[in-house]
């Protein structure tokens, strides 16, 4: 405001105050003007494809950055989500199959030819498809940045990397038992301080440019699943050598694990840590085409027109790193993410009591997907414990008392499957109609078993002392602590005094390895869909520190059947053996089975969902499409800026300003 003092015009506000007022008014105004739309995504790499059709982008979210995109190192789900799109494997899971895990050739021309060899060894002859290429990258200096053809040497190179101590492959210890020469190569590398890549690997012979023979120390039919895992995916040695993380010509090159070069339908276009991973369609991808069948009849109209088409259809995938569930959910509701999980907090608003979508979401065309996860949760007893490990009826009693249905309702919104056996649905030998006699939540039976075990009402029949049990948990979150309290309450129904011991993850692992526990929460998710991958957890030769038999279970009868079963192909005879193993474990009860997880997820109406089994779900994106026009229209409808708050705010500010001026003039201040 300007006033006159002695004929001179002076500003009432001193300079500093004028500065502050300017900042106060100008900065927010500038910020607001800049925020014309609420789309959180960066612009797509292109607007149109080469043929003029719209450029398709898929928007998804990851809770954090993958630790590594090195296929011979990465063992976590996050890494797998991205790696499965960057690297193809020799074999792959059949798409559109949700209830089984059939393998088909991918980089391989056909299924490997298996041959029995003398001394119990067996070999697999693998023929690579011709004309497959690595992604274009500057590491291919000989071909001026154009990705070269994939050859048999690249397959052998992948196995050598598995045996290289510097790569720290987490599955080396498993594969060294089966692949000839892997153990020796590793030992040499440890001794010499480096891995001799120029030396051939005895068990992975390169017969010609496109043929590899894999020799195993013994029969191991599960090797086919390893050939469908990223650990055995071919990688170019040029990329590993080039991206060494060392300065070259004054510029540091990234490490290979942050700069993958693979054979997949997508290549890594950009990766901003803590922000965004952007993949772009690899134009020379031709490992697979859209299949000409295998889907349900109801999907004929959707998929038949695409049969034989070149993949992938989606041109770009943007994976935003969104750690918190709230912003992720907000973006999905706004239509800015093409898919989402359903967190516990919003479960009851999204799904009705029948576990189906509520009307609001159905009206928007959002689709609900229910996919079983090949895992089993359970609490394990220490079979070396002098009380619980030696008393089968006691373990059976605790298992019978446990109310998994109630736990499921409280902790998992009722979506999990009550586990009746160790194997999850979809794995060979799973029995959907099986009723485990010690998993029916029968308190009367439980108490009867307690009496039979010598502990009626939880007290020693001879001494009268109350039975005590320690339940070890990690309790990393409030929910985990509540679950531990629930487990405690279930066991205490039998009169047993339960102490919950919270441990750091590291301490718990030590306790388990050293057998210093009585009961501990556990679980197992399949590496591959074979019963061997579950039953090996109870094989006596895997008792720690040798392996993962954390329950220290030892049953010679079980071991004999397991050894026979594990080297068999799927057949009625194998099925019988698997059922026997299930029956032995259910009867011996070294665990209290809880549940098989089920994944509930949502997808937008414009984002085509490809049904597939959980192990193939991540790279099923290569078969999917996005309806760009539908998305643009719905996003526009869902995100129209509200005008009334702006009008109201402007009116209020104006009114306050006028009032202030009038008040100031009246007060003559």
């Amino acid at each position: 405001m300007i006033v006159k003092e002695g004929g001179r015009v002076k500003h009432c506000l001193p300079r500093m105050m004028r500065f502050f007022c300017g900042v106060f008014l100008l900065l927010p105004a500038l910020l607001f003007l800049a925020s014309c739309d609420n789309d959180p995504h960066p612009a797509a790499l292109q607007q149109k494809k080469e043929d003029g059709t719209p450029w398709q982008v898929r928007y998804s979210a990851l809770p954090e950055d993958p630790r590594s995109l090195d296929p011979q190192f990465s063992y976590d789900t996050l890494g797998h989500v991205v790696i499965s799109l960057l690297y193809e494997t020799l074999l792959d899971y059949k798409p559109f199959k949700t209830d089984s895990y059939d393998l088909i050739p991918c980089l391989a021309e056909s299924m490997p030819e298996r041959k029995q060899l003398p001394g119990g060894q067996e070999s697999y002859l693998i023929h690579l498809k011709k004309g497959l290429y690595f992604h274009d990258d500057p590491c291919f200096e000989a071909t001026h940045g154009i990705g070269r053809e994939v050859v048999a040497d690249d397959v052998a190179y992948a196995f050598k990397r598995i045996a290289d101590p510097k790569v720290e492959c987490p599955v080396f210890s498993t594969l060294e038992e089966y692949v000839v020469g892997l153990h020796e190569a590793y030992a040499d590398a440890k001794k010499n301080g480096f891995f001799a890549y120029e030396k051939p690997l005895a068990g992975v012979e390169v017969l010609d440019k496109y043929t590899v023979r894999l020799t195993l120390t013994k029969a191991y039919p599960q090797i086919k699943y390893w050939l469908a895992m990223a650990f055995t995916a071919p990688v170019p040695h040029e990329a590993v050598d080039y991206y060494d993380g060392i300065p070259h010509d004054g510029k540091i090159r990234k490490q290979f694990k942050f700069h993958p070069v693979g054979t997949g339908p997508y290549y890594l276009a950009d990766w901003k840590q803590n922000s965004l991973i952007r993949l772009e369609r690899f134009r020379r991808y031709n490992a697979t085409k859209f299949p000409d069948g295998g889907w349900a009849a109801a999907d004929d109209a959707r998929f038949k027109p695409l049969a034989g088409a070149r993949l992938p259809f989606i041109d770009e995938i943007q994976m935003s790193i969104i750690r918190e569930t709230i912003p992720s959910w907000v973006l999905f509701r706004q239509g800015y993410l093409d898919g989402s999980g359903i967190s516990k907090d919003v479960f009851n608003t999204v799904l009705d009591t029948g576990r189906e979508l509520t009307l609001d979401y159905k009206k928007r065309g959002i689709v609900l997907h229910k996919d079983p996860v090949p895992d089993t949760g359970y609490l394990i007893f220490n079979m070396d414990d002098p009380v619980f490990g030696k008393n089968k009826k006691l373990r059976q009693a605790i298992s019978s008392a446990y109310d998994e249905d109630f736990a499921n309702e409280v902790f998992a919104n009722g979506i999990e499957l009550n586990a009746q056996e160790l194997l999850p649905p979809g794995v060979f030998g799973y029995q959907p109609d099986l009723k485990n006699p010690y998993k029916q939540h029968n308190l009367a039976l439980a108490k009867k078993l307690m009496a039979g075990a010598g502990y009626p009402d939880g007290r020693d029949a001879k001494t009268g002392a109350q039975l005590q049990l320690t339940l070890d948990v990690t309790a990393e979150s409030a929910t985990a602590r509540q679950a531990a309290e629930f487990d405690k309450s279930q066991i205490e129904q039998l009169g047993i005094q339960v102490k919950v011991s919270e441990n750091l993850w590291d301490h718990l692992q030590e306790k388990i390895i050293n057998g210093q526990f009585q009961l501990v929460t556990f679980g197992w998710e399949a590496d591959y869909p074979d019963p061997e991958n579950f039953f090996f957890l109870f094989y006596s030769k895997n008792i720690p520190p040798e392996g993962s038999n954390n329950t220290h279970y030892s049953n010679p009868g079980f071991d004999r059947i397991f050894e026979k079963m594990s080297s068999m192909d799927d057949s009625p005879e194998r099925l019988e053996l698997v059922h026997k193993l299930t029956a032995i474990l259910n009867e011996d009860c070294p665990f209290v089975l809880t549940a098989h997880a089920v994944s509930f997820s949502l997808s937008q109406p414009w984002a085509q969902h490809i049904p597939s089994n959980p192990l193939a779900a991540y790279n099923a994106v290569k078969y999917a499409t996005v309806d760009v026009a539908m998305r643009n229209e719905q996003q526009h409808q869902l995100n129209k800026p509200a005008l009334w708050p702006l009008v109201t705010a402007a009116f209020l500010i104006a009114a306050c300003a006028v009032y202030g001026i009038i008040w100031s003039l009246k007060r003559n201040v």
Binding site: C12, P14, E64, D65, R67, L504
Partner: protein
């Protein structure tokens, strides 16, 4: 003043040493390298793979002092750690193996893009509001303003974030709810909401504090003299009270300036701003304790620098103050 500065720098050395040792020991207790290895390699990793991981990073060395025959006494994890930090070699991330200094360089700009504007916006709003409350002191407006400040202080910052995202991003569709695109004017649309929320969330306590400072000045003798000379209330407040009040304000504000670079954990996490606050949360969740220790060390350095800066600014602002 120069000798004072040198003395303060020398005092910082044992303080930093203590910070390094305490954080080192704390992390060993809370999350030993063995459990970090399990987390990095996955729970299915075999013992041999874990041992290999530990050996490659020097975590199989003794923790404090090496008493093994033929080895240097200082060939231990703590000694190597202290030496690295003293030379400002912050090491590499356990999760990504990337040099931490590069991660800091990458994260500093996004953090500053939020904290600096939020700082100036917040302080401006707080000063103006405080001056207004002093102007209308002991009136109904003053009481109402004070109550609103207390209410504002009582609300947890996360509530502001969630509410702000819900209202301005989801319901009214003014701002993106999440995300960050670096570079250019378009970056502003991602920063607008987090900046406003960050500025507004802390304003309650700031207004109350500044009001107390200006009120104390307003009750001084020189102010009574100014009124007696016939100066208007507005001139007295805005020219005399404000200027003298700024001296005390500086001591509160300057100390926090160096820490602006460390970002805001909650804001960056919820809005997906890839700054240093986000880096800290990411490191905490993935047990990347080399990054955590580096951030604690750098934060300590900045805090000590901030305290020194406060003393210097105070001496400059008030000629009566002499640093000895």
């Amino acid at each position: 003043m120069f000798s004072y500065i040198i003395r303060r720098i020398l005092y910082s050395v044992p303080i930093l040493f203590g910070v390094i040792v305490i954080t080192f020991v704390l992390f060993y207790v809370v999350h030993p390298p063995h459990s970090v290895a399990l987390q990095m390699l996955g729970p299915k990793a075999k013992p041999e793979a874990i041992q290999n991981w530990l050996h490659n990073r020097g975590y199989d060395k003794p923790m404090f002092i090496n008493t093994q025959a033929g080895r240097s006494l200082f060939d231990s994890q703590l000694c190597h750690h202290i030496k690295s930090l003293a030379l400002f070699d912050l090491g590499k991330s356990l999760k990504t193996n990337e040099p931490i200094i590069d991660m800091f360089k990458r994260g500093a700009i996004p953090s500053l893009c939020i904290t600096v504007p939020a700082f100036f916006l917040g302080i401006t709003m707080a000063i103006l509001a405080a001056l207004f409350l002093v102007f209308v002191r002991e009136s109904l407006l003053d009481v109402t303003g004070t109550i609103l400040c207390v209410v504002s202080m009582s609300i947890p910052p996360m509530v502001y974030v969630i509410f702000g995202q819900w209202l301005f991003a989801t319901q009214w569709s003014y701002f993106p709810a999440f995300g960050f695109i670096p570079g250019g004017f378009s970056m502003a649309r991602f920063l607008a909401l987090p900046i406003c929320i960050m500025a507004f969330a802390g304003i309650g306590s700031d207004i109350r504090m500044y009001r107390a400072i200006f009120l104390e000045e307003a009750r001084s003798d020189y102010v009574r003299t100014a009124y007696a000379k016939g100066l208007s209330a507005r001139r007295v407040l805005l020219v005399h009270v404000f200027k003298n009040g700024m001296i005390s304000l500086i001591t509160l504000v300057v100390a926090s300036l160096p820490l602006l670079i460390m970002g805001s954990l909650i804001i960056e996490d919820f809005f997906g701003i890839p700054g240093l606050g986000n880096l800290m949360i990411n490191a905490t969740r993935s047990a990347d304790f080399t990054v955590i220790m580096a951030e604690v060390y750098v934060g300590s350095l900045l805090f000590l620098f901030g305290l020194l800066l406060t003393d210097i600014c105070y001496a400059i602002a008030d000629p009566r103050i002499r640093l000895k």
